[in-house]
Amino acid sequence: METDKAQVVVIGGGATGTGILRDLALRGIPAILVEQGDLAHGTSSRFHGLLHSGARYAVKDKEAARECIEENMILRRIAPNCVELTGGLFVQLPEDDPQYADQWITACTEAGISCAEADVQELIKKNPVLSPNVTRAFKVPDCAVDGFRILWGNVNSARRYGARVLTYHRVSAIHQSNGRVTGVELINQLNGQKRSIECEMVINAAGPWGGEVAAMAGLEVNVIKDKGTLVAYNHRLMNMVVNRLRPPGDGDIFVPHGTITILGTTSTTVDDPGCTKPGHDEVLALIKIGQEMVPELESYRLIRAFAGVRPLYQAGNATGGRSVTRNFALLDHQQRDGLAGMVSIVGGKFTTFRLMAEKTVDLVASKLGVNAPCRTAREPLMTPVSEELLERGKKVFGVPGARKAAERLGDSFAQVVEQVEKNPDKGRILCECEVVSLAEIEHAAHSGDSFTLGDIRRKTRMGMGTCQGTFCSYRTLGALSGYPQFAGNHWEYLTKFLQKRWKGMRPVLWGQQLREAQLSTGIYCTLFAMERMR
């Protein structure tokens, strides 16, 4: 069995885990992150992609609101290619309590969130999908954020400082001796091989799986698993985030995200942290509520539904938890349970992941006797793409292709552009809906972290557009069939990918997406007879 050593093992490749890894690396603490699947396969990619201004929480939780606006400003600075500066709106409808608006304005001002009242007529002219009944509207600094990109940005930045990442490695045991954690045991999810890492500290950042991970160390951490279903529309319905100006509820946020719009979210408690099945009824409920803000919503095309599990922490009767705020909790298991070398970070939201990481690493560093201060708020995640490079990119990818590729690839954009300049054939677009080139797909395949077509999808957006992979999955398989990791069982690679896409399409199979499904089954069954392929 392979054995590794690191000072710290971070469990969980979501926003918090990767944020922690980066923070550790920047402070010079040797660390390995282990993740049971691909990065961002869980909650960190299964949300509406909103970088909160904090306005949503202003009335209910001022502290959380303040954290949001601070982190929002930091992320705009350190990760500009992951953040789309859409701006946000809070709109009030006739049926909403007008007094809530006044309360909300005061709360935003107190939290330091700018909220300027907008001319409603002007606004509806610019965003004609909005209900003509909107009574008041306010502009806030909400943004859209790309979960996949920020996570890989964290990891790439951490790697530059020597950190390591093992995806598709599930923790099977947490070893301890004399009241101290000594290491973890892992199983490679792709080939079943075992592996262990000796370490001084384990950080449990497993999100909805936080309770399960803690249990491996014999601890009890009470994570409430709250499933939220979201839907993706085929195009940008509006160019700003749109919230409902009333106490937060289901189905009241629209986030324009690249080429699509995400509408969320519902809320149901589930038992299984991996329960990401979007429900048909939840989808219909979302549309119904969303219609109040966007009356023609029913006629617009949904391309898929998805669900994520929010890990909400509730400090149970077992005390000792050092609640940092009401929203996330940092549990020092030495203090709380008498187990040294383990901390859990639970709860929280995507927008504040960096802050959560900072607080976690502050605690860990002090335990490890490291004095280095946190630098994650100052150092950018990646170097911005220069205008000159972007111009070169436009020559090979065209205007939309270049911009999107630059945002997705960040530091690697130069390399990919060079590839295509040298060999123009690599500039061909394999995923036409999301404009993803062969060069970009090959880059993702080369990265060493891609084992499935799904991994390529998360890095490139291949297969995430209108046709949901009907055409590009086959092309990508073909283009990569020369790579050892894709040379094996084509049926398996393709089926797994198509099945994942199918899971998201099923709850929205009507109208145009049903037509797409007929085309898709026509291709893979009628033309390829793939249902009988083995």
């Binding site: 048909h280 219909l284 029913e298 054939d425 061909r428 394999l430 062969l438 055409f471 086959y474 092309r475 398989l477 073909g478 283009a479 069939s481 020369g482 040379a487 084509h490 049926w491 089926t495 198509l498 099945q499 896409r501 199918w502 099923r506 199979l509 009507w510 109208g511 049903l514 037509r515 499904a517 007929q518 085309l519 898709s520 089954t521 026509g522 291709i523 893979y524 069954c525 009628t526 033309l527 390829f528 007879a529 793939m530 249902e531 009988r532 392929m533 083995r534």
Partner: protein, 421 residues
């Protein structure tokens, strides 16, 4: 604007074109209108009749006509049960039209062909154009899969790897792949097909392939060998190489389906059928169970068309013949009922062997292809329904879509031809 005709066919897919050809042959004045090009252009270009055994759905069926006869007994709701009387003559008619237009379709001794796809799978089909009709792969002494550098939709290594896995080839049969260049750039299948119509380009391809030929080898290529239905590209390439050359089935856009569509369109136009594509029928007037006129628009302008017989060949959801909302599906022109059942419309697995309910939804008809309600009562007397519009056909799994289209289109055309003055 008003138009009058004997037979109005709505839809330019396989069943609509078959109906038009048959009705026109019987001397009727025929008009065919369609919103756009029908789905036959997206199809394999082959006529799948019935792919697998009823008892063992993994076993390729050896006698599709006999199997369909059994099917009609066990599943009288299947569209084949409505058209069995004309099935064989419809196939003969189809083959005659193809032959006359220089695009012969071949059968495999009355059984199923087992033709390779770009994915390296094998699909059973009853009639194939000569350019695709590769005989028994078990018998071949070598396979060379040839791809084009310009094409992003075809990967010889994928085909070869999975063909090998399928076990159809003899164990010692050499299986090689080759990438050739047809002049560079990134080409769609249509652009490549256009290029290949130039004999000089074919010569260049031949030069590239020749050094890699093993004796007795069969060549498999993407479906790009020639633009038109009567193209000689595949034949010329085979002659120049001295080896048989075949096109495999691939994702759209692919030429064989398009050639079939263009050939049938050309044929019916030659028969005097007025063909109007880009004309959307969006409603109809029905009085006393008869359709008195259909309401269409062309570029936003209203057109009214009256006909003695209306043939509804508008396809399923994909073709636009059926529309849906959550929990509801309906036929889009006459609002004919579409049974959706209480089950889920789709199976959990994308590649479910049971198929998906949405692919089986459609309009119920009687033996004259007239739409009927739950009780079997005819809803509109001068309307007939064909092809993918028909309920009860699980075509992606059964491999019978184009077969049902040929037979039902033919039958509707024939019945329309029998309607008196």
């Amino acid at each position: 604007m008003n138009k009058y005709t004997d037979v109005l066919i709505i839809g330019a897919g396989l069943s609509g074109l078959m109906a038009a050809a048959k009705a026109a042959e019987q001397g009727k004045e025929v008009m065919l209108v369609a919103k756009g090009m029908g789905a036959v252009g997206l199809s394999s270009g082959c006529i799948d009749l019935w792919g697998y055994n009823l008892e063992d759905p993994n076993q390729v069926c050896q006698d599709p006509l006999a199997e369909i006869a059994r099917l009609c007994a066990v599943n009288p709701q299947h569209p084949y049960a409505r058209v069995r009387d004309v099935l064989e003559e419809s196939l003969l008619f189809f083959r005659r039209v193809c032959q006359e237009n220089g695009n012969p379709y071949l059968d495999h001794r009355g059984g199923n062909w087992l033709l390779p796809t770009a994915l390296g799978t094998l699909r059973p089909t009853y009639l194939a154009p000569a350019s695709m009709a590769v005989g028994d792969l078990q018998q071949v002494r070598g396979v060379l899969v040839v791809g084009f550098r310009e094409l992003k939709d075809f990967y010889p290594d994928v085909l070869a790897a999975n063909l090998k896995k399928s076990g159809v080839l003899q164990a010692d049969c050499p299986l090689n792949t080759l990438m050739v260049c047809a002049g560079g750039g990134e080409l769609t299948p249509n652009t490549l097909a256009y290029r290949l119509e130039n004999p000089a380009v074919v010569d260049r391809i031949v030069d590239q392939i020749k050094p890699h030929l093993l004796p007795g080898a069969v060549l498999l290529l993407p479906p790009v060998l020639g633009e038109r239905w009567d193209s000689q590209v595949a034949k010329n390439l085979a002659e120049k190489l001295g080896h048989p050359v075949y096109e495999v089935t691939n994702i759209p856009p692919a030429l064989p389906g398009q050639r079939l569509q263009q050939m049938l369109l050309h044929h019916v136009k030659g028969q005097g059928v007025e063909v109007v594509i880009g004309c959307t029928v969006n409603g109809a007037r029905v009085a006393d169970k008869r359709c008195t006129e259909v309401l269409a628009t062309g570029a936003g302008k209203p057109i009214k068309i009256s006909a003695k017989t209306v043939i509804l060949a508008t396809g399923s959801f994909l073709g636009g013949g059926l529309e849906s909302k959550p929990g509801k599906a309906w036929e889009s022109i006459f609002g004919l009922p579409v049974e959706t059942g209480h089950e889920k419309w789709s199976a959990r697995d994308f590649l479910s062997m049971a198929g998906h309910l949405f692919n089986q939804m459609g309009i119920k008809v009687n033996e004259h292809l007239r739409p009927v309600d739950k009780t079997g009562e005819v809803i509109i007397e001068n309307v007939m329904v064909t092809g993918a519009n028909l309920a009860g056909c699980n075509h992606p799994i059964e491999k019978c879509g184009n077969g049902v289209a040929v037979a039902s289109g033919y039958k509707a055309g024939k019945l329309a031809g029998e309607v008196g003055e």
